[in-house]
Symmetry: D2
Subunit: 329 residues, 4 copies
């Protein structure tokens, strides 16, 4: 997703000028003190390594010993539990697979909050339900700590190259402190508002992305069956009101574009099950806020079916392949 | 829809160089001979006037006498039936509300084909089922005439200002002859392929437009309920993979953009019933070609319900208003 | 579909008493005069044979010579075209695959209406768009003939055993004349109203059937995943407000019932593509009458996708199999 | 919903014979000892009164003092908190609005589990997420208590008349003890399996009910627009494969049936927001178990939209009214 957030630096400049520098906390100035990192998976590991590259001592932990070993070899100090991380670092980043993991790592028996120091900055980059982010923030505040949600856009490649985009929710006074660390791991950092809005922004974007992708796939398929050349149809859509990111940057029809998953048998990119997970989060937040999301809801169902019919690990643009097959005679 | 087809001139240049000038028919050179025009409604009337402005004598007819009178006052010669138009003009443009009207005007008892001259060029700018376009083309060919479909994008304003976009289907050799006339009435003319592909392109674009609009509306609504500022959410989407024409050029949320229907209580623009009509055409062609269009199909149903619940004459971006209302307590 | 229309005889008794016998035409009394039959496919062939078994001379035709030969061997007189059938019979039954075939057989160059005799009774048992039925009725009336639509429920087995159900639309005065022939081929005949309402009744029933079947499949699947025994869940639904024909007569989950396609690897029964065709007709009539059918529309899309993903020839209850698969790890 | 679970007594007889009487606990024999009741709303209040009528002393509490006063006047002993109820009763029934309330009442600071006695039987009749039921069961087991889920079908009227249906999940050995109390408040008690399956059965039934109701509404509407008489169409569907509870017991079209909400301007019955809530639970469990529920999901969205467009307090069969309106001209 190279095209993701291209113009955001410009945007940041504007936003940042609203930040009153007098409120920047002392903590954020004390750079190069240790940073905690919990969750060393495909995404977390390269993110933590980028902190090391930027000269930050890293105190790390993970449930998988091999993941810990790998980061130890890269220069991190490994400890046994989130609680121990909290004893030794006053800035901690977490990168975990789902809401229950986050709850466990923060509030479990050996969780961060058991040993947290007052004033600690907690940054959660997991993609989870914004309601859980808000719960964690409340729990952290009771201990005198600050919690921010900062989910990412961009995959493993962007994580390695420090090209991620972070969408950040939390108290604005702490944003600069978070930004100092996040810019070591990403190319763009966007402040979204109160706690949970980082998650909200990510969920909203991915829901609209899924709708646009399925819409593009079915539209291209219909046009092809009506006799239109796929490249020409893409050109027409892209200069018209049908234009969207999925039609002009990530077209799902093989042969229309180069350098996208549809040009490579839908390998790489953003997997169908990952999209189904994000749509599940969108559906949950919509249900809980009683918000109608008819197309988002149907998109969720479509990626759910695809996940169990051979498309689980293909890029989510493979919905074109899913829909295009000719009827059997 | 000012942003519609912005880059198409560039595209045309490239396409046009494929046209072998040796094949350009004599007819297309014989400009300023009379042009027939059938269908003088909200769209047809200003289109015909633009032909007059460009110096073409116009032979016109319509079922409504007042519409004929108005065009007569503007300088056209009015006759009683499509057949009479066909007697006096060898280039005829039709602009009619729906498929049955087109069938009647071409093949009815007083239809064009009853008195058509060999070599006549027929250009239908109605938005209809591409299958009907193909039927008309076959019927015309039997009489030695040529039929092209050339539906338009852009509304009454664009028609008056000669800023329409035409999507043209038909034999490529006749494209220049059609283009000569169409450029008097529009700013962009795109050649799409064989007969029916003009309709196909328009239907496809509008289906994806409807999906993108509803998707944008439900995403913005969800984000707002999750605590995001609507302008900020639009900015984030527009620099991300959720970006689409409905989010960055025609945002449906009041207060996000100026100069769009959402800034004006959803007045003007492209009405919900017109969108429902186009989605009905998309659904019909999808059903007839056995093409699955799950989101297009649901978008059709949503605009259908809106059309009977107070949104018929509002711009189609009013789907945001339809979805946003809070649940009653 | 043995359970189809079980109670309809009772219903008929009530309906039939409204029929004023004085209006019964002379034609319907003149039994055992020849009956025309056009369309000798899987359904038409056994239907025509049942007329022969009941002592009616049959004048038949079909585009496939082998089909004609087979019926000739069974005792029918075969002729070359629908027009010739019309010359020799004043009661004609048609059983054709789709709307265009019906239009061709009635109004084509060698069609029935070219040589039809005044007072002829035309009964079309094809499943087609009710709008086409109405067009045929108007065309027949111009020639002094009467057209009725009488689509069937029940498959090839029911056709062989004369156990079909006919849903009949047309002028009530001719209903008895139609019934005389239809009862030779079916167990139930239901009068539905004006021309086209037979088609309407069939399309409506099958749309609700599809919705109920998919709904039952997804509900059973959800319940099983939540730990419920499928037989117990079916019992609970069937004694509750979730009850429907698909849950209590044709349960799609293997092991819940015997004697249904789900007990036999979804072989036999009513194929997915046939259901998709009927849902396409429902969608077309809904689009044309501007009627919102959100669930019917989505059911159409689901059977459309299934038709191209290996389920084309399986019974339509195989939607359970389509939805049940576990996500890949 | 008088027709709900009509045949369940028969079913129970069969199920009950599997219960080994030797395992029936002593507690269930010790009848007429006090029963705790928490949650005295529209449903809980008449349920608790029916326990009083059957001679059980009731120890009750609720957050609303007026509700407590009303039950005190009816003969119950009122205490201040769930914890106090647990001190004084070893059989406790809870009837609460949603999952968070249940979690609070069981595990909160003054919750049942703070003062629970070993061997206490906890029966939760709230309709909530089955995952929460399982959490409560685990928490109760840690304290040596037994938790069963027993949500109800039937509304306020059925609660007053002790005609509710209970769907019970939990260890089979305790089923008889639960049944002793539940039969005082309901006409039918169905054992569904392990903890959470009572909720699962209710959620599944109501999801299929919603699908059948919307399907019936759109089918009836389509048929009427195609010229069918609504009563006749209902008869045809009800003797055919389109038959479902919503078509034959609770038809949504005014004039087709008497004694149903559609005959009374959609007053009474089961409100649209309540259905939307149950569909939200179904959606959540489906999302969490990665189960595709395309029609259930769309039904949820439709009732969600209706809830904010004037139908919140109308019976859920008012979806016919929502869909039927004619398009504006």
């Amino acid at each position: 997703m190279a095209a993701f957030f291209r113009r955001s630096r410009h945007l940041l400049l504007r936003w940042n000028k609203h930040v009153d520098l007098a409120h920047v906390s002392v903590r954020s100035m004390a750079s190069k003190t240790p940073v905690g990192f919990i969750g060393l998976g495909n995404m977390g590991s390269p993110m933590a390594k980028n902190l090391l590259k930027n000269g930050y001592p890293v105190i790390a932990t993970d449930v998988f010993p091999e993941s810990c070993k790998e980061l130890q070899d890269a220069g991190a100090q490994v400890v046994d539990s989130p609680a121990e991380v909290a004893e030794r670092a006053d800035r901690i980043i977490t990168m975990l697979p789902s809401s229950p993991n986050v709850t466990e790592v923060y509030t479990g028996p050996n969780g961060i909050l058991k040993k947290i120091k007052k004033g600690t900055l907690l940054i959660d980059s997991s993609t989870i339900d914004p309601a859980v982010s808000r719960e964690m923030a409340v729990a952290a505040e009771k201990m005198g700590a600050v919690f921010m949600d900062a989910p990412v856009s961009g995959g493993v490649g962007a994580a390695s190259l420090a090209k991620l985009t972070f969408m950040v929710g939390g108290v604005e006074e702490e944003y600069n402190a978070a930004q100092e660390l996040l810019t070591c791991m990403g190319a763009n950092v966007v402040y979204c508002g109160q706690v949970g809005t980082g998650q909200a922004a990510k969920i909203c974007n991915n829901m609209l992305l899924a709708i646009g992708m399925i819409g593009t796939a079915e539209t291209m398929n219909l046009g092809i069956r009506l006799g239109l050349d796929p490249k020409l149809l893409a050109q027409i859509l892209n200069m018209s009101s049908g234009r969207c990111w999925s039609s002009d940057k990530y077209n799902p029809v093989p042969g229309v574009m180069e350098g996208v998953p549809s040009a490579n048998n839908y390998q790489g990119g953003f997997g169908t099950t990952l999209m189904a997970k994000d749509l599940g989060l969108a559906q949950n937040t919509a249900t809980n806020t009683k918000t109608p999301v008819p197309l988002g809801s149907l998109a969720h169902q479509i990626y759910r079916v695809m996940s169990s019919r051979g498309y689980a690990n293909k890029d989510f643009s493979s919905v074109f392949q899913f829909l295009r097959e000719e009827e059997e005679k």
